[in-house]
């Protein structure tokens, strides 16, 4: 749900799906979103798609950010999107970051991942895109 009132902070879930111990990027992004005034629910490492969707619903987030560097994105992201659909929660936009080849990124966008940030993306770009996605203006 996009929020209109500026008094209510954007809530965003940051999670790392699957078996992947590299959480530095996710932490840097979490911190940047915090500094931009958002409430970041940091779910951390080794989350199953079920746990991620459950957390997104319970925390009533405006946005989900998934970080992955393990190469399993084509298995895990479609599963998250399918579970969101089953939970009638497709209104929550999903963005992603990590090592994702262009070809896969194109397919994931088609499946519904709203933005994909590769290495070298500036934090300004991530913050402004996240804000637009959460406010429903992207």
């Amino acid at each position: 749900m996009p929020k209109s009132a500026k008094s209510s902070p954007i809530r965003v879930l940051i999670a790392k799906p699957g078996l992947d111990g590299h959480d530095r990027g996710a932490k840097v992004v979490a911190r940047a979103l915090r500094d931009a005034g958002m409430e970041v629910i940091y779910a951390g490492l080794r989350q199953t798609p079920e746990e991620i969707v459950r957390a997104a619903v319970e925390e009533d987030v405006d946005l989900i950010g998934l970080s992955i560097l393990s190469g399993a994105h084509m298995a895990l992201f479609p599963r998250v999107l399918a579970l969101l659909k089953r939970g009638r929660a497709t209104a929550i936009p999903v963005f992603a970051g990590g090592i994702i080849p262009d070809e896969d990124a194109r397919r994931l966008r088609k499946l519904g991942v709203r933005a994909i940030f590769g290495p070298g993306t500036s934090l300004e770009t991530i913050v402004s895109t996240a804000r637009q996605l959460a406010r429903g203006t992207a």
């Binding site: 209510s8 500094d35 925390e59 929660a89």
Partner: protein, 324 residues
């Protein structure tokens, strides 16, 4: 939720176990949405059934891990449980990183557990201004136990006593000598002390210091705080910890203090709400009325003292309220 009728529909969904409706209602309460008042009103008669337990203590003592272990125990004995975990908001950006969920492991399909992270949103005292109402939503949703984890700030998480019937203070070995335990603050909050990470050396010394404190008049209204050693990582002591919480809950019923405490909390809450409204009214009045704003100049010029100015403002706000 846009009208009283949709608030009733949301209330019905929450009572019926709709977790999405519950999650959205929590956001509405947190954000102070105008409809949230009607929702809380509709649910209020259904509250008062859940055991509300506060978990507080300094940063890094293992509050979240203790809660994770407690939840596992509560599920094993068949109780449903909701957790509200509060973390601080940045006073600069207003943002926050809510990291308590990271310690939380459970079966993702278990509908008898609900976890919600909350930012303190500028409130001091360890919880957010709306935490009490969020707890009411969870209570009305039918959870047997609601656990509130405060901000890990240390000595002044007093607000938890306004919400929880039993407060657990989590500590670890080597936090300080016995003089620390004499200081005011955390030690007056505790109904139960939990010495976590008790597999580390020094746990027995911490227990000894605490029991001396309890012996030195740490009793409050006939209850001597229990001291339990735990290791959340291995689960050691968690059954005993819950046993101590239940013992305190039974004590509240037996001694008649539950009813007295509830009346005291309700009085605090209502006075607080009135204070808030009067404050807003006075601020509003001051902003709109140039004549009253002149009072500020008078005080600045030392022709009037602040208390006299406050009297006049209060009277002016009262006059306006009485006008039809």
């Amino acid at each position: 939720m846009t009208s009283g009728r949709s608030a009733l529909a949301a209330a019905k969904a929450i009572v019926g176990g709709d977790r999405r409706a519950l999650a959205r209602a929590i956001s509405a309460v947190e954000n102070g949405d105008p409809e949230s008042g009607a929702l809380v009103r509709a649910l209020y008669p259904r509250t008062g059934r859940a055991r509300v337990i506060g978990i507080t203590g300094p940063l890094g003592v293992g509050k979240s891990s203790v809660i994770n272990a407690l939840v596992r125990h509560l599920r094993a004995v068949g109780s449903s449980v909701a957790i509200v975990a509060v973390d601080p908001s940045s006073p600069f950006s207003g943002g926050s990183v809510l990291g308590d969920r990271i310690r939380f492991e459970r079966d993702a399909t278990d509908a008898a557990v609900f976890f919600r992270s909350m930012a303190s949103r500028g409130e001091e005292g360890g919880v957010a201004a709306t935490t009490r109402e969020v707890v009411r939503l969870l209570d009305a949703a039918g959870f047997d136990v609601v656990v509130v984890e405060t901000v890990g700030s240390g000595q002044v998480d007093l607000a938890i006593r306004e919400i929880a019937s039993t407060s657990v203070v989590v500590l670890v070995p080597h936090l300080g000598d016995e003089v620390q335990t004499l200081k005011a603050g955390l030690f007056e909050i505790a109904d139960v002390f939990c010495v976590n990470k008790s597999d580390l050396p020094g746990a027995d010394l911490a227990r000894k210091d605490l029991s001396e404190l309890v012996g030195l008049g740490g009793q409050r209204d006939g209850w001597a705080p229990a001291i339990v050693l735990t290791s959340a990582l291995s689960g050691t002591g968690i059954v005993e910890l819950w046993g101590a919480v239940e013992a305190h809950e039974r004590f509240l019923d037996r001694s008649g203090q539950r009813a007295a405490a509830q009346r005291r909390r309700i009085a605090h809450e209502i006075v607080g709400l009135v204070r808030e409204r009067v404050g807003r009214e006075v601020e509003d009045r001051l902003e709109r009325d140039p004549e009253l704003r002149r009072l500020l100049d008078e005080v600045a010029a030392r022709r009037l003292d602040p208390r006299a100015a406050a009297d006049r403002l209060f009277e002016a706000a009262g006059r306006r309220r009485r006008r039809p």
